[in-house]
């Protein structure tokens, strides 16, 4: 018996019959939902619309979102070259810069939280908890307002404000800074958990060989921690890529903004949203699969995978012994919202 169906017995004739009934009910409910979406987007509801029993309600309404003209723009090359590909490029560029910077940020502050010097631990802890505890959008807004803040500071101390155009923050920079600070703080916790997960004897053995603390960290602990941290890092990169869509809000011309422009230009908001969602889902599911593959590889090699599950203000969950055999279906990547 697989872990999949431990919650219920191997079905007998009655259970199979019941299961078939539920399957049919589910399919009908799913179809009803699809029909509702179809009719809703077809503008078949509301005043003046034909009754649902008539065939007119089910035909493609020229006012609705299902007309060929509303989907045709996605077959035209200039939609892709003009909006989608540049948008995707910007999204991926911002995500790539932010990923590299966030990993660096995470390493610095994750290791900082493990420092032997209490002030470094406190400062790193405060930085990490602060950036994890406030919304990413606020960080982006604040970064956008930095030139204003600098001028206000300069005025407050009595000097002249900066001449115009000497210090500006463009939208991409704001997105990258915001993503770096937030995801870097989450990754700092991943690094800390990963390094803590290396058996203590390793560090003790290295110290007894006369290695300095830095040597122990860089030569013994980090190389062993990296594999266990990889799944959590990749899962966090999915979060980062998804959050890059916040650039839409500050008019950064990324993927979502590209689709929103298409929606405004051709009046096909819903088709644009659907195709945009598909692109994000394909990219993110591929990345998630990579995280799962890394985690399974670790499990095969008998290594645990580090996770940063605790939210700001929460303590690390106790690392108990391996639990009993799982009951439900196997869990996916440790994706966090």
């Amino acid at each position: 018996m697989t872990a999949q169906n431990v919650l219920f017995d191997a079905p007998g004739p009655r259970a199979r019959a019941r299961s078939r009934i539920f399957s049919v009910v589910t399919v009908l409910a799913g179809l009803a939902l699809l029909a509702l979406i179809y009719l809703g987007l077809n503008r078949s509801f509301g005043e003046g619309a034909p009754p649902l029993s008539s065939p007119q309600a089910w035909q493609v309404n020229p006012e609705g979102q299902w007309t060929a003209e509303r989907w045709a723009p996605f077959l035209a090359a200039e939609t892709w070259t003009g909006y989608i590909v540049p948008g995707l490029q910007n999204t991926l560029t911002a995500a790539l810069y932010a990923a590299v910077l966030a990993i660096l940020f995470g390493m610095v502050f994750g290791i900082g939280r493990l420092s032997q010097h209490a002030p470094i631990r406190w400062i790193s802890g405060a930085v990490v908890e602060f950036f994890r505890g406030i919304p990413l959008l606020m960080l982006i807004f604040f970064t956008m307002a930095l030139p204003l803040a600098v001028n206000q500071l300069l005025t407050a101390i009595g000097s002249d404000p900066l001449p115009p155009r000497t210090f500006q923050v463009d939208a991409m920079a704001a997105v990258i800074v915001g993503l770096t600070l937030y995801n870097g703080s989450v990754l700092a916790e991943v690094f800390r958990a990963g390094i803590n997960a290396v058996p203590k004897g390793q560090a003790e053995a290295a110290e007894s060989l006369g290695m300095r603390r830095t040597q122990v960290l860089w030569l013994i602990q980090i190389p062993q921690a990296v594999t266990s941290m990889m799944p959590a890092i990749v899962a966090q990169l999915v979060v980062l890529l998804k959050d890059s869509a916040l650039g839409y809000i500050i008019a950064f011309p990324e993927l979502l903004r590209g689709f929103s422009l298409i929606g405004t230009r051709y009046g096909n908001v819903i088709p644009a949203a659907i195709i945009c969602a598909v692109i994000y889902i394909v990219i993110n599911i591929s990345l998630s699969r990579l995280a799962i593959w890394l985690e399974r590889r670790n499990a095969r090699r008998g290594r645990a995978s580090a996770r940063a599950t605790a939210a700001p203000g929460m303590q690390e969950p106790p690392a108990g012994p391996e639990g009993p055999a799982p009951v439900g279906p196997a869990p996916d990547a440790p994706g966090k919202p």
Partner: protein, 224 residues
């Protein structure tokens, strides 16, 4: 700091919307999350499939897009309205979008909680003749819930922070981050104290939630 304190009524109004969005979305996403989890471990393959497609689809879509779909797509473009006044109309659409998105993460947490329930518990229940529904309701879910109190707390904190997106994605709920942006844009409020003030506001919401759930998860933990 005076400018920030002078606008205190706006700040409090902003955070009151944040709290309302958080609480209502938390309630609805929990209910939907439990239903999705039950479907994902159910004996009916169709239900498992439907719930998996939903969770994998929405989970991998940016929240900004989900809320834009609710706001610009359904509310504006199709003109589906949920309440008389614009203010409450966008509020309810934001609650729907946030709940639909957060339910996926509730379901993922609960499912990992189901995995922590020892096999013997389920086998014992089945050998007593409990049906799948009884098994889930009386044996599995109570234990699973206790073991995922911590992760659910993390989801709630993420939800609190995610409510900021409801202000911008075609909805314009007047929550805290929007109030902060408005103060920045008017150029009257000093940027750094305003930012710190709002950041403290969010930390006041998120940190105690974290401490509380941390305490609760220890208290609720199943002794094994």
């Amino acid at each position: 700091m005076e400018a920030f304190l002078g606008n205190l009524d706006k700040v409090i109004d902003g955070f009151s919307w944040t709290v309302r969005l958080t609480l209502l979305s938390a309630l609805f996403s929990f209910i939907l999350g439990v239903i999705l989890t039950a479907m994902r471990v159910s004996p009916v393959p169709m239900m498992r499939g439907l719930a998996t497609v939903y969770v994998e689809g929405i989970r991998n879509t940016p929240l900004t897009l989900v809320l834009l779909f609710c706001g610009l797509g359904i509310n504006s473009a199709l003109g589906v309205s949920l309440a008389g006044s614009v203010q409450w109309d966008v509020f309810w659409w934001a609650v729907i979008g946030l709940s639909a998105y957060t339910a996926c993460f509730v379901s993922e947490s609960l499912r990992s909680g189901v995995n922590t329930v020892p096999l013997g518990q389920v086998e014992a229940a089945r050998s007593l003749g409990l049906t799948f529904t009884q098994n889930l309701r009386l044996i599995v879910l109570p234990q699973a819930l206790r073991s995922v109190v911590g992760p659910l707390g993390s989801v709630l904190i993420a939800l609190t922070k995610n409510t900021t997106i409801a202000s911008v994605a075609g909805l314009g709920v007047q929550e805290a981050s929007r109030q902060m942006k408005l103060m920045f844009d008017q150029g009257v409020a000093p940027v750094i104290p305003t930012f710190i003030g709002f950041a403290i506001g969010f930390l006041i919401l998120t940190l105690p939630t974290g401490f509380f759930f941390s305490w609760l998860s220890k208290r609720a933990a199943v002794a094994r």
